[in-house]
Each structure stands twice: as C-alpha cells, then as structure tokens.
C-alpha cells in the first residue's frame, strides 16, 4: 500500500488528457447540431397565438396544434399521416419477409449468389430521384395510374430492401448454426426448426430490420415524390406546406408526428418484450 499509494495517486492527480476535453467538446457540438434544431422546433410549436416562427416565445398555447385539425390549409395533414403509416407498415412487412428469406438463403453459396447480391444492393447507390423518375416513366409507358400501393410501394422497396438485406446479413452472421443442427438432432422438421428455433432466436434482429424499414419508408421523399399519384404521403404534404405557408403550424405538425412515431415504436417494442417475457414465463 505504502509503495503503490503515492504513485497511483500521482497518476490519478494528472487527470484526463487535454484530448478528452477537446473530443468531448466536439461531441457536444455534434449533439447540439443533431438535436438542437429539432428541440427548437418542438419548443416553438407551443408558441403563443401572436408569436411567429422564431424566438422569442410570445406566451404558450396549443393553437398551432388545433390548427392542424381545422378545415383549411392543413386539412390534408391527418389523412396524409395515416397514408404514410399504412404504407410504412406494408413496406416494413414486405422488407422483413423478403430480407429474412434472403438472409437465410444467402448463408449458402450458390451459383450466381455474388451477382444476385450486387444486383439487389446496387439500387442503394443509384440516385434516388432518378429511381423514382424511372418508375414514374415506366408506369406512364405501361399506362398504369401511379398510386400509393403500386408505384410508391415499389419505389420505397428499392430503398428499404437493400437496407433490410444488409441488416439481415449482419443478424444472420451472428446466428450460430449449431442451434439448427441441435434442432435436427432433436427431431425437428425443417418447418419446426424455423418456427421454434431459427425465427425466435433471430426475432430481435428481425424486429430491428422491420422498424428500420418502417422509419425509412415513413420519411422517404425523393423516391416517392414522382410516383405518388393523386394523394400525398406526409413528407410530401409537409414539403408542399413549407413552400407555401410559414407558421408555427409546421412545427406543431413536426412535434405531433414525432410523438406519434415514438408512440408506435414504443408500443411495438413493448409488445415484443411482453411476448418474450410471456414466452420465458410460460415454462413456469
């Protein structure tokens, strides 16, 4: 103790190196840059009735939230929101089903697997606006009216599928194949093996992929804008509003949609955990 004490104390007394403070400051600035504008928006959405789109706050009110639901300029926001949610749910479901199947399939090398993989992910590097433009032209050439669950769905899948595939590969790579061999050893049929072993073990990763796809779809703009047809999704609707209206209503829309998306994500996670808990408890 006597020997170790002073030198150790001396080391601790030297404190953290200056680089720690430099990097901490940098990280702090980054966080400010990342979340600052959003925080400003959330705060300003509670602006008083006589306030504007900038500080200072002139009182506190919910009038801008009420504005969303009023007839008038904002009338399209609620239906656009529900369209976005519906589309995101379908996109997310399709992405999960296809990515899980592909992720499991790609564990085995097969002739052409390399080419197939690059074909599948190459749409990530294509300019998104052009992808949408191409799909729009294609629909026009075929004489099909673009709409939410045809052209817009397809355009969004060109974005979420490669993402889902990449994420699923990472999930599947960490999956130990001996679980499946153990299932075989214990007499599981291929379907039972998938249903009772592979799927439950991969489930947390699969939900991650699903939520990722949901989020990508929910705020997708560039690919969707040229193929949406008559009725807009929420990001398109908001973009249209930004160019025409400037009032704290825009901020209120932002706050409300953020709250609702957090609510949806929270409920999903809560349900998943409670299922898992019940499953763990079912043995008791």
């Amino acid at each position: 103790m006597m020997v170790g004490g002073p030198s150790r104390q001396g080391y601790a007394g030297a404190g953290r190196p200056w680089t720690f403070y430099a990097l901490a400051t940098l990280f702090g600035l980054f966080l400010l840059f990342l979340y600052g504008p959003m925080l400003v928006m959330y705060v300003l959405s509670f602006q008083g009735p006589n306030g504007g789109v900038t500080f200072p706050m002139v009182g506190f009110s919910f009038v801008w939230f009420e504005d969303i639901l009023k007839r008038g300029q904002m009338a399209n926001i609620p239906p656009a929101f529900f369209r976005s949610i519906e589309l995101a749910a379908v996109v997310s479901l399709l992405t999960v089903v296809i990515a899980v199947a592909a992720g499991l399939g790609f564990r085995r090398r097969f002739p052409g697997s390399g080419v197939l993989f690059y074909l599948a992910v190459s749409s990530l590097v294509m300019p998104s606006l052009l992808v949408g433009f191409g799909i729009g032209l294609g629909f026009k050439a075929l004489g099909i009216e673009p709409s939410l669950f045809t052209s817009a769905l397809g355009a969004q899948l060109t974005w979420t599928l490669p993402f889902g595939l990449f994420a699923m590969f990472a999930v599947v790579n960490r999956f130990n194949r001996s679980y499946e061999e153990a299932a075989n050893d214990l007499g599981a049929s291929p379907w039972q093996r998938f249903r009772y072993v592979t799927l439950p073990i991969l489930l947390p990763g699969i939900i991650g992929v699903g939520m990722g796809a949901f989020t990508l779809s929910y705020d997708e703009y560039a690919r969707t804008t040229l193929v949406i047809g008559q009725r807009n999704t929420l990001p398109l609707e908001i973009y249209a509003l930004i160019s025409s209206a400037t009032s704290p209503t825009l901020f209120a829309i932002g706050t409300a949609t953020t709250a609702i998306s957090f609510l949806i994500i929270g409920l999903t996670l809560w349900r998943v955990f409670s299922i898992q808990k019940r499953r763990a408890g079912a043995a008791a």
């Binding site: 130990n176 001996s178 153990a182 214990l186 073990i201 763990a280």
Partner: protein, 344 residues
C-alpha cells in the same frame, strides 16, 4: 466379416448385436481434401469411447458423420447392426451434445429438455413431466425455469446432457464436451460423464484433444491423425505399447528414440540419469529442469538437436542434481524400450 448390405430392420432379426457402432471404411472428402480416410472401427456395447487427436485430425468429422450432421462421402455407419448411413440425425438412435452445448437461448431449461418431445407432438403436461425426470437425472430440477444464459458452464452442460438423453439414444455423441469448462470443473464433470455412462449402459463417443481426458474416461481410446486411426485400444495398451512415433509423442510421457535399427519409445518415467556404458542411453545437454512436486522433469537436448525428457523421483533427483547446461546421459533397461512401427 458379417457386415454386408444391411436392411433397416436387421436389428429386429438379431436381438442382441455385439456392437453399438461400426464404421466401415468411412471417408469424408471436402472437394479434394480428405478429412477422414477410410476409417473402420467397432465399438462394443456400452463402451466409453474417446476419439483423440490434434485439431484437424478428422475426429470431429467422424463424430459428425456418425451423428448425421455431415454427409458421408464413402463407407457405412452401422448403429446396433442397422445401417444408418442415409438416415437423418433424429432417426439414427444417436443424440449429440454440441461443443458450445447449443442450448436454445429463448427457451427455459425445462423447454430445452422437452424440445424433442414437443417436436414429436407430445402433450405439454406429459412432456414437462418427462423433462423433469431428466432434469432430476442431471440434478438440475431447481433450474427448470431458468434461461440458459442464467446458468454456469457446468450447469449448461447438464441441461445439454438431459436434452440429449431424453431422446433415449443408443449412442451419445459428445463433441469436446469439457473444453468450455475451467480445469477444476473439467475433472468433476468427466467423473460425472463416466458415472452417467455406466448407469445408462449406452455407448458414449467423446471427441477430445486432451490425452488426460481420454485416458481417464476411455474403455476404448482411438488415437487419430491425418484422417486415419493411428491406434485403438484400452488406454493402458496405448500408453504401454504405442504403435507409432506419432502416438507415443501425442499421448505424452514418452521419448521417441531413433537409431539405425529403427525407432522405439521409452517412457520418461523409466529413464534415469547414468553413464553411457550402463546400457541403452541417450546423451546430451540438460535443456531445462522443472520441479513438479513428486517428480522432477529433466529435459535433454542431444548434439543432433533431438529432445528427450526424464521424470525422476524427487529424492533421486536431489541426491544427484543437474543444472541446465550440464552434460547428462539418460539410461533405461532394454525391457522398457518399446519398438515402434515405421510409417505415418
């Protein structure tokens, strides 16, 4: 040889087969690499058999071919006179315990053990009752509701054992079952494995790279190298009469001496320090001296760079101690020199 093409029902004809497992020229090739090269082996009823060898010797591939997790390139595997070569794992009468146990992380211990019954459609009450019996067999009753992640390595191994045994296998296959445990637990679990095997009366085939483990457990010890069986026999047969230089070196405790008339093995504990004129000997410089309690290990390096070692009783060593760098000669009696086969 009576093993010819066997119909699946042959075990009905012969009520009491002599062997639990027979391998007939079993070969495994990956592209052009031969992992297992025409291995033949017969494992009598109720045998604790260890497949021993360095990594890459083909022991795990052999085990996996018996289990049905690896396709057999050529040859046949018979279990109790039944040719299982083309059967899926669950229909072979084997059960496998995996190296990392592969317990299903999302299922409780009880549901892990009951898994095979669930797959067969056994009702929940019945399968849980049976699973509890097997948890009791491995003394894990109180852990029924835990998840595998909440157990220690030794406890996980017991659950894995129970999960395998509930399928009532004729042969239990264990892939390096003790390698994940700390040394103390390893010795305790290997005693338990042996006890369990005796109690159940079925054959265990246990893959390991530890000669201590194989010596301690085996009724039949199979030393493998480069995809072939180098020697199979009781641990005592193998230790006293190693067939090849590889076997002598791999099981340890032996010096392999090469002379113009061939190679032979001399046990290190039969070597003494003496003088060249006293008989067969090897001379060189002491390379190292290790005190090991009951014995002192003296390592010798000859002028031509060959290594030898002697395990001397501590009192004999300290009566005439040597230091690293000293010239020394190991001597032994002719009766202790065991001639080795040439070849691989």
């Amino acid at each position: 040889m009576t093993i010819v093409t066997t119909a699946p029902h042959l075990d009905d004809l012969r009520a009491d087969p002599r062997f639990d497992v027979e391998l007939v020229a079993v070969t495994k090739r990956y592209d052009k690499v031969v992992a297992v090269d025409a291995v033949s082996l017969r494992i009598p009823r109720g045998t604790y058999c260890c497949l021993l060898g360095p990594s890459g010797c083909g022991k795990t591939s052999t085990l996996r071919m018996i289990a049905g997790h690896e396709h057999i390139t050529e040859g046949d595997v018979l279990i109790r006179d039944r040719n299982v070569t083309e059967l899926p794992p669950a229909r072979r009468g084997t059960a496998m315990m995996f190296q990392s146990y592969a317990l299903f992380p999302h299922l409780s211990c009880l549901d892990n053990v009951a898994f095979s019954l669930k797959m067969r459609g056994v009702a929940k009450v019945e399968r849980h009752r049976r699973a509890r019996e097997f948890l009791a067999l491995v003394e894990m009753t109180e852990f029924a509701d835990r998840l595998p992640a909440q157990l220690s390595g030794g406890q996980q191994q017991r659950i894995a054992l129970a999960r395998s045994l509930i399928t009532e296998p004729q042969v239990l296959l264990l892939d390096e079952p003790l390698s994940a445990l700390d040394p103390f637990l390893r010795i305790r679990m290997r005693e338990e494995l042996k006890r369990l095997q005796r109690r159940l009366g079925i054959s265990f085939i246990h893959v390991t790279h530890s000669q201590d483990e194989a010596m301690a457990l085996s009724d039949l010890m199979v030393v493998m190298d480069q995809g072939r069986i180098q020697q199979a026999g009781t641990p005592r047969e193998i230790f006293e009469t190693p067939a090849t230089a590889f076997v002598a070196r791999f099981i340890g405790g032996h010096n392999v001496i090469t002379t113009h008339s061939g190679s032979f093995a001399v046990r290190a504990d039969r070597c003494r320090i003496g003088l060249p004129q006293q008989g067969p000997h090897v001379s060189g410089k002491v390379a190292a001296v290790e005190y090991q309690g009951t014995v002192v290990r003296v390592a010798l390096e000859t002028a031509s760079g060959e290594q030898a070692a002697a395990l001397l009783p501590d009192n004999a060593f300290f009566a005439e101690p040597v230091q690293p760098g000293d010239p020394a000669t190991f001597i032994w009696s002719d009766a202790d020199a065991h001639r080795l086969e040439m070849g691989a």
